[in-house]
Structure formats: structure tokens, C-alpha cells
Assembly symmetry: C2
Homo-oligomer: 340 residues x 2
């Protein structure tokens, strides 16, 4: 591997592929001299896109892959059958040590199946959760698991809490991140069977700053930095978050443009409004990493544009620089062995 941090990017995945993927890659290398991007996908298509830009040729290469996994495909079947898809080829680059990370805006389920099957979990990590970065009023929080493991055991949630804590501390620079578990109330007696079993285990963890249970209502206000739950609950929270935000924004837009008076008002208020809303947008931090793998696999939104792609490439660079997987190995796996 070169001295560069090498990020393989699925040039064919997502609603805006390949154009926004390629643009994001060019933008990333143009502002970070330590990163090299391998664009994975149909060589001719990628070359056509690249011809629109000027950039340091040493920092971008292409890995040809003739197939594409579509969003609606069955994840297991797709990974099994499409051996020459951009996703499978990109994941093999990480497995073979030719890339430090793989980023895709494509089929989440396939990325999960492929990440586990091709890159594989760190030995001792029981489950790999998606960690989605969600916006809060005061910054950003990590929702872990945001959708990878829909049925969990308490030992899984404990590892999610630890990996999430390491991630927020190292990748986002949040010191001593506050870790909370999603619960249906603040009171001690609350919780479903899983939460009741997990709560005392988390309290015993001396290596994380566990602050207890929190109701989902408190997440947007910024009540915790790492929010632990099973992947079914996490998916429900993440998707509700996105759905309510997008619906409310459209209701607002309609309100601001429903008549001439409100349109004039909107024109006056828009700059400062946009400024405030920009803070409530997590795409500036990058995509959702699949934590606990032998390498880094990151999912960006299906709707990701160049800006989010660029931020996700930077996120991969930080992940590598901060040696996050080494911290996971040292702090979770080795400690676990000691206990056994």
C-alpha cells in the first residue's frame, strides 16, 4: 500500500451516480493531498466523467467493474451473483489491503452482506452495526445500530456502545462522549426485555461514559453523543428523523410561498434561515460506517451529492489516521479476552 490513505469509491451506486460520485472524489483529492481515491465501476463511464475535471492524476485511479448492484436487488443474491459488480470489487480491494476504506451510496443491505462476507468482522466483535451520524441542535450524535442488526442480544449492544464511543472520540474529537441507551422513559423501571438486560451491563463498563437511558425525544436536543439501540429501533428512529425533517421543511416552504406577502417575507428571511438549517444537517460529517470490520466500509445516503461524498472520503481519512480499528481491537477485543 502507498503512503496515501486509499479510499475505494463505488462510482456506480446511489441515485446520483456516476456524476456526483466522481465529482465528490475529485473535490476530495483537490483539497486533501494525502488521499487517493480508487473509482470502482465501468471504466469508460468513469473516464467520461473524469474528463470534465482537472486534478492530480496520481491521486485518482480506476478499478474496472462491469456489473452494478441495483437498489431493489436482494442483498444476499446480489453479492453472490454479481462478482464483478462495483460493490463486490470495491470490497475486495479492502479485504486484499489495496484500499483502507470502501464507500458506497448503493444498496445498504448488499453493502452489509458484502462487508460482513468479504471484508469480515474483527475477531471478537460479535456484530457489526451501522453508526449513522444524526444532526442535533448542538452538533451531531452517533446512532448505533442504525439498521444493521434487527434482532440483538445485550452483549451486542455493549459492543455497539464501546465502538460508538471510540468512534465519536477519535473520529469527531468529542472528549469522553456521553453514551445513552434508547428507552421508553427516564425512570429506572422502564425498558423492554433487551434494555433491562443491557442497562446493568453498560453501567459496569468503566471504559465508557454511560449516562443511562434516554427517550428518543431528547436526541434532537443533543442529550447524548452515542445513542445505543438495536438496529430495528435505530432504523425506526433514523427514518422518522429524516421523514419528519423533510416533511416539516416542505410544510414550511409551502407556508413561506403561499402568497405574495409571505413570499416577500421569505426572501428577506431566507439567508439567515438557511444558515441556521445548515447546522441541522449531518451530511457534513460523512456517511454511516459499518463498525467492527477488518477495514472500513461506509454507507452514504442513496441521494448523496458530491459534497457528502467528499465529506465521507475525509471521514475515511480520519478513521485511518486515528487508528480507530486498532483502538477497537485493543479496547474491546483484548479486554473481552481478559474477562474470559
Amino acid at each position: 500500500m502507498s503512503e496515501y490513505i486509499v479510499v475505494a469509491l463505488d462510482a456506480m451506486g446511489g441515485d446520483n451516480a456516476p456524476s456526483e460520485m466522481v465529482k465528490g472524489a475529485v473535490d476530495a483529492i483537490n483539497s486533501n493531498k494525502e488521499v487517493k481515491v480508487v473509482l470502482v465501476g465501468k471504466e469508460d463511464v468513469i473516464n467520461t466523467e473524469l474528463s470534465n475535471y482537472t486534478y492530480n492524476k496520481e491521486q485518482i485511479s480506476i478499478k474496472n467493474a462491469t456489473e452494478v448492484i441495483e437498489t431493489a436487488e436482494h442483498p444476499v443474491m446480489a453479492i453472490k451473483r454479481k462478482k464483478d459488480s462495483s460493490m463486490v470489487v470495491g470490497l475486495h480491494l479492502v479485504k486484499d489491503g489495496e484500499a483502507d476504506a470502501f464507500v458506497s451510496a448503493g444498496n445498504s443491505g448488499a453493502l452489509l452482506v458484502g462487508g460482513l462476507g468479504i471484508v469480515g468482522r474483527i475477531r471478537g466483535i460479535e456484530r457489526s452495526p451501522f453508526g449513522a451520524l444524526i444532526p442535533t441542535k448542538t452538533g451531531v450524535a452517533l446512532l448505533v445500530d442504525s439498521g444493521s442488526n434487527v434482532d440483538c442480544r445485550s452483549s451486542h449492544l455493549v459492543q455497539f456502545a464501546k465502538m460508538g464511543s471510540i468512534y465519536m472520540e477519535k473520529a469527531l474529537g468529542i472528549k469522553n462522549p456521553r453514551v445513552a441507551i434508547v428507552n421508553n422513559g427516564a425512570e429506572e423501571e422502564k425498558g423492554n426485555a433487551l434494555v433491562k438486560e443491557t442497562m446493568p451491563l453498560l453501567k459496569e463498563c468503566s471504559d465508557i461514559n454511560f449516562i443511562g437511558g434516554l427517550e428518543a425525544r431528547e436526541i434532537p436536543a443533543g442529550a447524548a453523543d452515542v445513542i445505543v439501540c438495536d438496529g430495528f429501533v435505530g432504523n425506526a428512529i433514523l427514518k422518522t428523523y429524516e421523514g419528519v425533517a423533510s416533511t416539516l421543511l416542505s410544510v414550511f416552504k409551502e407556508g413561506l410561498t403561499s402568497n405574495l406577502k409571505s413570499k416577500i417575507g421569505a426572501a428577506l428571511a431566507l439567508p439567515s434561515l438557511k444558515n441556521k438549517l445548515k447546522a441541522f444537517d449531518a451530511t457534513q460529517y460523512g456517511g454511516a460506517p459499518l463498525l467492527g470490520l477488518n477495514g472500513l466500509v461506509v454507507k452514504t445516503h442513496g441521494s448523496a451529492k458530491a459534497g457528502e461524498v467528499k465529506n465521507t472520503i475525509f471521514q475515511c481519512a480520519t478513521f485511518k489516521e486515528q487508528r480507530i480499528n486498532e483502538h477497537i481491537r485493543e479496547n474491546i477485543v483484548i479486554e473481552k479476552k481478559k474477562e474470559e
Copy 2:
């Protein structure tokens, strides 16, 4: 029981008790001649509040109760020990047939414990879910269970779906309501163990309009009328909904008032904006009924003001007029017996 529809109201429960509770009761009877409200709580306190209003004395009475269950109290202990609390006394009015419904903005857990223990479930109904009305872009949807049963079996979810369907059809006049189950994706193979077990059972129900699984992202857009899930997931969705909406509204407010230009703009846009946002507010429909009890028990928001209290009293009147519990008995319980 008189010819009136009798609604017992916890005058002492919630952040704004007793003043907003009493005001809501007076507003309700002043605009509906068929409703009688029994204000349950400290007689002298209630009388002082009532002295501020003129109203038909026949439509309001007081049932004295000397104790109050606080929001932070342990539900089971509170119901057991505070026999003369407004909540316990009010629930007994329903049990004894002196009231058709009981409404409280107080401790949700205690209301659930008391509703089950004092009023009791309809024979044949396995679990009583809270059905929260949540706003959507096109109207309103019922989230059931929104927090009552945190660990559920598939047979519980099937009954939630049926009770929710009856409720939305009869209480809100939505014909052939679309029933969906919360899932972590639209694809057939998605779901945690509970959803995978429940999905085929719901498909077999010929008495509901089951449209399949839906991602939480689609709820705010109005993709279904009855949204089925266990109470833990439902609580997470409901609280995320409330938290994101309130945080985004405050971000918007800050954006609209951050400088002189935006303030002028805000003043111009406000009327039409408020108008649009009003539609995205479910309190106009009332509180969250605890479905499947021998009588009606409704939880309003802890922060409920007179308007929401009044709407909840009207909701109780509709529940009684539309004979919703009779429909639940006929369509769910009797059908279930036939199957056995």
C-alpha cells in the same frame, strides 16, 4: 347513567392542572350540549377554578379526590397506595358505569396500570395498546402501540391492527383505513423476528385493509392510516417525531429572528406559515386512547392546554356514539372465538 355522555376528567393531572383542565371542560360543555364532565380532584381547588366561568351547572359536577399521583411516581406503587387520588377515583367511575370515559394528562404509566387493573380489558383482548394520533402531511395517522406494551407477540400486533382500524374508521371517519406494520425496509425479506412472524398473519386478515410493511420515513408523508408496531418501537417513533418537530421549529424560529431583515421577513410570512403548521398538529384530534378496555381511558399530553382537553372530551363523545367498544367486541373477540 344519564342520557348525557359522561366524561370523567382528571382535574389534577398534567403540567397545566387544574386551570387548563377546568377551562377545557367548561369550553367542551359550552359547545356540546350532549356531554357532561365530572371533574375529579380536590373539590375546593376545582370550585375556585370553576368560579371564573359561566356554564350550564347540569353539565359539570365534581367528584372529590384528596390525593394526586405525581408524574415521577412509580406507576404500580402509586395506583396501589393512592386510593383517593384523582386518577384512581376517576377510573373507578368508569368501572362502576358512572362515566363513559376517563381522561387524564397525568402519569402515563399509572394510567396504564390503573386502566388495566381497575377498568380491565375486554375479555378476549390480549393487550391494551395506546393509540397515539400523529400528524401527517395529509391529515392524521394512528400509531398503535405508541408505548403501552414494550414486549409484544405477533397475536398482540394483530389485535392492535384490528382495533386501530376500527378506531380510525369509526372515530375519525376514515373509510377502509390503510393498515401498515413498521418495518426496516419495503422489501419482503426485511423485518426483525416479530415483524416476520406478524406479517403473514396480517395478510390473512380479511377484515382490515393491510397494505404491508412501511419504513418510518414514510409516516409523516401520510403513507398509512394505522401504523402497527410494538410499544417500544412506537414510543421511539412518537418521541422522535415530537423531538425533531420541536427542535426544527425552534431552529426555524431562531433563523427567522436572528437579524432585523429576517425579523421583517418573518412578520410578513408568519400568518400563512402558522396556517400551514396548524395542519401539522395532532392535538386537534384529541389524546391517545388505551384501546380494548371495558370503557374508555384517554391520555392527553402532559403539556395539554384547554384546547386539547376540549378536543379529547369530544373524542370521548365520538367513541361512545360510534359504539367503538361494541365493534371491537363484535369484530375481534367474537371472530377470535369462532377461530378457536
